[in-house]
Symmetry: C2
Subunit: 232 residues, 2 copies
DNA sequence: AGGCTTGCTTGACTATTGTCAAGCGCGACA
DNA sequence: TGTCGCGCTTGACAATAGTCAAGCAAGCCT
């Protein structure tokens, strides 16, 4: 790894409040890998050999069973994945693929485990990360079980708009079929859901989305702090 | 708390490998509460004031939204709940109710947080607990999204049978409507699903379940290590 | 025993979501 | 400038699950 890259890696939030010696030890055996889009990074069921930290790009977490496949989440820069598996040397529960060309920091599992054993600061950092991840999945499970597809879409639109300056107008950050997977529905259903949101003055033209009546949409979506996180 | 109870509390797995001084500090402000069946212990959205550890009994974790309600999981002795919320002083994402009369150890949130800050052993114990909890929810999410109701029931039966000596015969540990909630289906659907499993030689008489052809059931269920945990 | 509640089942219907197939529109590229 | 492929949409249909209502059976309490 280049010196400049090392600097960047040390600044990752996950490594703050961790003994610098332990951080160096983890970075020493680590790879900063570039992956092209659509490449599979890890596969469900395999043993956990590296902790992955996204430096740049977007990663889709998914899993399949029989002939079905489902997207469990999307992660971006600064986020780690499969930390829980790495820590206790368990098989991955999820697969991951790069959605766009991405840079991933891969830290060998045993380096993570020894830092976890040796340094209290790192143990706390790990716990914080796992707590956030846990709450994220619980929210996703609630989103999935307590809402219809249309409601999930409406809430996603509101959340995404809020994260982009609440201008009531934005471009979809990825293909609609990725959004469909993210929301847990077939692409055809997403199409129909967008059409149904016409009644709430949502105008979709290709990747561009216009929310012309946020209040009406909010009334349909009924966003909720214990599912969507931030108060909308 | 009585001396004998204190002994019992110190033996909780969650407190192993933790500085005894910190354990005492946590137990000092803790309550060992008895709750009758059906009582709500915590409520979604409220601030996290106590870490709950189940000493005896069964607790249902659930949450509602609008007029819907869903069960997110069932927990038994030795398990903690809402640890993630307590640790970082966030509102509960789930509600909890006692399914049967239960004894719960309630540790004040600030005592948990100071032990977490002060003791590396406890921080690691917390991380381990959160990692398990995280993996549990991920499995639940996959179970929910990748399987039909009938498949979830078939897998539950196999898992439960395996946990009870694989005798192909057991009594349901709770009411069928609780099982229905656990599996994420309406009670009526559970009834029909049991009826449908007749074709796989599953015989249900009130609370008693007889699996007369485990192989056929397994072929339907297709249990999987990355959803069901143990290899069946 | 009579009457009540509660848990469960069953039937009929509806809602939601997935699947298959066809077709449209736009950009890539020869 | 065609035409090929891909992403998306639409229609028709099927599968899955929820809802409402009626009814049954076991336990409980006078």
């Amino acid at each position: 790894m280049r010196h400049q890259d090392l600097e960047e890696m040390r600044a990752i939030p996950f490594f703050q409040n961790v003994d610098p010696g332990q951080v160096e030890a983890m970075l020493r055996g680590a790879f900063l890998q570039r992956f092209p889009a659509h490449v599979e990074l890890i596969h469900t069921g395999e043993p956990a050999d590296f902790l992955h930290i996204i430096v740049e790009g977007t990663v889709e977490l998914f899993s399949g069973h029989r002939d079905r496949e489902t997207t469990l989440g999307l992660s971006g820069p600064g986020e780690t994945f499969i930390l829980a598996a790495v820590l206790f040397d368990r098989p991955y529960l999820q697969s991951a693929r790069a959605l766009v060309a991405s840079r991933i920091l891969m830290v060998p599992a045993d380096a993570v485990r020894s830092a976890f054993t040796a340094d209290a600061g790192f143990a706390r950092s790990v716990a914080a990360n796992l707590a956030e991840a846990y709450r994220g999945v619980v929210k996703e499970l609630k989103n999935q079980k307590l809402r219809s597809g249309l409601e999930r879409l409406a809430n996603w639109l509101l959340t995404h708009d809020a994260a982009n300056g609440s201008r009531g107008q934005f471009d979809l950050p990825f293909d609609k079929k990725v959004l469909a997977a993210r929301l847990g529905m077939a692409p055809e259903v997403l199409s129909r859901s967008f059409a149904a949101l016409g009644a709430y003055h949502v105008v979709v033209q290709g990747p561009s989305v216009l929310l012309k009546d946020v209040d009406a949409l909010r009334k349909l979506a009924q966003p909720c702090a214990t599912i969507d996180g931030t108060t909308l």
